[in-house]
């Protein structure tokens, strides 16, 4: 059989490109990680160094001291973000998967139209709906409550889209015996479909986590003691140069959680994305 020309030499330009692109991607990350462990004087050496010389955890102690002495304690911001993230993840995963099952496996009136609208919703950013959403929230009396951030997150389009595409790849045969036994659709959804879509469930969890973990509540939350963590951490950066160390520590903390989650879930996310294509 004829061998394809895949010589190492022919690939060299591609690998050089990959190395350069990789360096561009990773340098700022390395910078952030190193900054978090730099003593304050290392921020002011010329020329500036990416790598830390005498690593210290002072920045983290500073960060905790700064936030402990603030009017609202650090743990409160942490709780706010934690609460918003957990509620948002649970609601989104349940609502989106329950809606994805009929869209993937049933035939009913309006199915195609509903899915087309969801795909259309992927085609514009949430900024577009921000102003009317504010009005709706204010009608509902949800401004300045957790719900203004949590409830809309239940119905984001990307999660439903990915879940529905993944469910479509399941063979119909897994539902047949349950149907013969006369199980209700709710039962089939919960005890047959859900255990078989774990990779997609993990994907929804991590995508939703990224959304909510970084949410600063801008415009919807005014009370200081309801504000999420990213808001508080952004304030530290405004403290000027002496706060640079604490800000670096804050950036590091915000980054490390989603990246770690992704490391553990990568293979399942890739498995889900394998079904993400848009069929005509």
């Amino acid at each position: 059989m004829k061998k394809l020309n895949r010589s190492w030499f022919g690939s060299l330009p591609l690998f050089i490109f990959l190395a350069l692109a990789g360096a561009f991607m990773i340098l700022p990350i390395l910078f952030t990680v190193n900054n978090a462990f730099k003593p304050l004087d290392e921020f002011f050496i010329f020329p500036p160094q990416i790598f830390v010389r005498n690593p210290t955890t002072d920045n983290f102690t500073d960060l905790i001291l700064l936030l402990r002495d603030s009017w609202v304690p650090f743990t409160r911001y942490l709780f706010n973000t934690f609460f918003i993230t957990v509620c948002g993840i649970i609601g989104h995963t349940l609502f989106a998967s329950a809606a994805a099952y009929p869209l993937a496996k049933h035939r009913f009136r309006g199915k195609q139209t509903l899915f087309t609208i969801v795909v259309l919703a992927l085609m514009f950013t949430p900024h577009v709906t921000r102003i009317p959403n504010y009005m709706i929230m204010s009608e509902l009396g949800w401004i300045d409550t957790y719900w203004s951030l949590v409830i809309p997150a239940f119905a984001l389009p990307l999660g439903l889209y990915l879940m529905k595409q993944f469910m479509e790849s399941l063979p119909d045969s897994i539902m047949e015996s349950a149907k013969i036994d006369g199980a209700s659709e709710y039962r089939i959804y919960w005890s047959i479909i859900m255990p078989n879509v774990k990779p997609a469930v993990f994907t929804l969890i991590i995508l939703q986590f990224i959304q909510l973990w970084g949410n600063d509540g801008y415009g919807f939350i005014y009370s200081e003691d309801l504000k999420p963590l990213p808001f508080a951490l952004a304030q530290i950066g405004l403290g000027g140069f002496v706060r640079q160390g604490a800000q670096a520590a804050a950036l590091f903390l915000l980054m490390v959680v989603p990246v770690t989650l992704f490391i553990f879930m990568q293979s399942r996310i890739i498995e889900t994305m394998a079904t993400s294509g848009m069929k005509d």
């Binding site: 991607m25 020329p47 500036p48 009929p102 514009f124 973990w213 848009m278």
Partner: protein, 301 residues
């Protein structure tokens, strides 16, 4: 006529379990996504400040937008610049990097995916670019240029109208290997291996021909999904511009349509005008996506 309604009613009753399952999601989806688009369109023809009831003013908001608002024109120009640069560049980068990565063994591939995907999930970490392009000699980029003798004096990169938009574009590119990238990585793994062998028999000589005749056509659905994600993100640039170049940026050089929208909606509370901006933005985003979808259908045909 009566028969038709009876038919619909019968179907609805028969499929009621399906409707119960989709109910909670779509109720919220309609309230927080569909209704806002409709409201935005409706309010765009009014003067509305949230205190008095909205007053119908016809096309005035749109007239003001395109005839009287110079800053909007700057914002629109910048947004189109983002869309036409970061959109295509990030799209090709997503695909190209995924394609090169695909050649490696699984464990190396996993590490490379992590490196390229990490920036897009790292939240506010892009603020580090502010330190890289800091205006004095302690800024990393300035320091390197001074050391190499290219610059004598540091440049205020982020305060200079000519430079800052390019820096925001660079940061946006850094952030852009997200969901679309993962979809491509996954899609490349699903391409049927036997097609490559068959292709070699049919006279495909190098990997570029293989890419065009086999790989791209077999992952067309991913290409379309990735395009939607990249296009939508590149039209929605706002937070990065506000946090990197400042808000408002010097001479509005990094002002985008979404920044303009947030300015009128969240600060000036001119909801009618902000709604007109949102409606225009909505139309531009959706139309571009639909056109690109149509073009991508032709890949490999």
């Amino acid at each position: 006529m009566r028969n038709k309604w009876q038919l619909i009613w019968r179907d609805l009753k028969r499929d009621r379990q399906s409707y119960v399952l989709i109910g909670p999601y779509f109720l919220l989806f309609f309230v927080f996504t569909v209704l806002p688009v409709v409201l935005s369109f409706a309010f765009s023809f009014t003067y509305f400040n949230m205190l008095e009831p909205p007053r119908f003013i016809g096309w005035q908001n749109y007239g003001r937008l395109f005839l009287d608002d110079d800053i909007w024109l700057i914002a629109l120009k910048n947004t189109l610049l983002f869309a036409f640069i970061t959109g295509p560049v990030s799209y090709f980068a997503c695909f190209f990097i995924a394609w090169v990565i695909n050649e490696f063994r699984p464990w190396i591939r996993a590490i490379l995916v992590l490196i390229f995907y990490a920036p897009s999930i790292s939240g506010n970490v892009y603020i580090i670019w502010q330190m890289i392009f800091w205006g004095d000699r302690y800024g990393w980029f300035n320091a390197q240029l001074i050391r190499l003798g290219i610059l004598v004096e540091p440049i205020e990169w982020l305060k200079h109208a000519d430079y800052m938009i390019w820096i925001v574009i660079l940061v946006q590119l850094w952030l852009s290997l997200g969901t679309g990238f993962l979809a491509f990585v996954a899609g490349l793994q699903t391409v049927d291996r036997t097609l490559y062998e068959a292709g070699a028999v049919d006279g495909i000589r190098n990997r570029w021909q293989e890419l065009w005749y086999i790989t791209l056509p077999s992952m067309k659905p991913m290409l379309m999904f990735g395009a939607v994600i990249q296009i939508t993100t590149s039209f929605g640039v706002a937070e990065v511009s506000m946090n990197i170049a400042g808000y408002p940026s010097v001479n509005y050089a990094a002002h985008t349509a979404v920044v303009h929208l947030l300015d009128y909606g969240m600060i000036r509370f001119e909801m009618g005008y902000a709604s007109a901006i949102a409606t225009v933005l909505f139309a531009i985003m959706v139309l571009t996506n639909l056109i690109i979808q149509r073009l991508l259908r032709k890949v490999g045909e």
